[in-house]
Symmetry: C2
Subunit: 155 residues, 2 copies
DNA sequence: GGGTCTTAGTTGAACGCTCAAACAACTACC
DNA sequence: GGTAGTTGTTTGAGCGTTCAACTAAGACCC
């Protein structure tokens, strides 16, 4: 027998789904329009920009942005087309590749960041009190931990 | 000057993004694998099943599932291909169309629902206390309200 | 040192989404 | 009763994602 959702739970679930959708839409559109960057790519650029030498192994990068290798592979190919990322063989492991953020990529990221941050702030942080933010983070963290194979720092 | 995110805010934002992604992935995969239904289509079937006569005007349906008309149009076309939805002209308005859930569609929905509910329950409701659920709903509702043109019942 | 297994990464097709453009039917106005 | 504008819906191209299949290089082992 299925245990259906109560009205209360259903409202919570729908609110969650709607927030998800809206948040995704808004950030995506903002980045796409203001900077011509799909959100998915933005995350990749951010991860690279934070890495030493602005470069990472493909698999490490995939893990960092929580995406499949296939997706990363396609994405990096596109980013390389735009000249934002360069690929380099790995000396120590002939199978491996590095993705490296180019200067152009870094500039594109710098140009895109302010608008993105502003959008995020006005969508989330301007409408929630600090306790509300923490409660949201707590819930999000618990759900994520439960969902992913390797739980992560809860701080 | 951009007001960047504090460490605290950044952690919240990342937790939120990750939850979003995982939640989407999990529910999508579950439905796709167990029932061959993309989440997006599931929402459409649900909306239709709850409507009088199991049928709705295209535009009303689009609004109900919070999607663009274009998306709805594509989606209904696919659902019609599968025989889950039927389209009927609108008598009173020659431009209008109704989408109507077929018996096959209703059965597909009934078959898919238990697995979906179970997935949702174990992803969200099994890991959050009732106060945590309410806090999450509160935050999600506030964010959604702020993001969408027409705020909605807060209950 | 030649099998077999595993790991790193790529590829291509299928699919849903978005966007902009199109089309058709209704409405208003003069 | 045309013509201009609006509304309801569809269409097609472009794009990112997923999935399954594939290549190729390391690792292991006898």
């Amino acid at each position: 027998m299925t245990r259906w959702l109560s009205d209360d739970e259903q409202r919570t679930w729908r609110a969650l789904v709607e927030m998800n959708r809206l948040l995704g839409e808004v950030t995506d559109r903002q980045l796409q329009h203001d900077a011509g960057i799909p959100v998915a790519y933005y995350a990749i650029l951010v991860a690279l920009s934070e890495a030493p030498d602005r470069s990472m192994r493909m698999s490490a990068l995939a893990e960092a942005v929580e995406g499949s290798q296939s997706r990363l592979s396609h994405a990096v190919a596109r980013l390389a087309d735009r000249g934002w990322v360069r690929r380099r063989r790995c000396d120590s492991d002939g199978r491996g590749w590095y993705a490296e953020l180019t200067d152009e990529g870094f500039e594109a990221l710098q140009a895109a960041a302010p608008g993105h941050v502003t959008a995020v702030r006005s969508a989330v942080f301007d409408v929630l009190s600090t306790p509300q933010q923490h409660a949201l983070r707590e819930a999000a963290t618990l759900i994520s931990q439960n969902l992913r194979p390797h739980p992560v720092d809860v701080t």
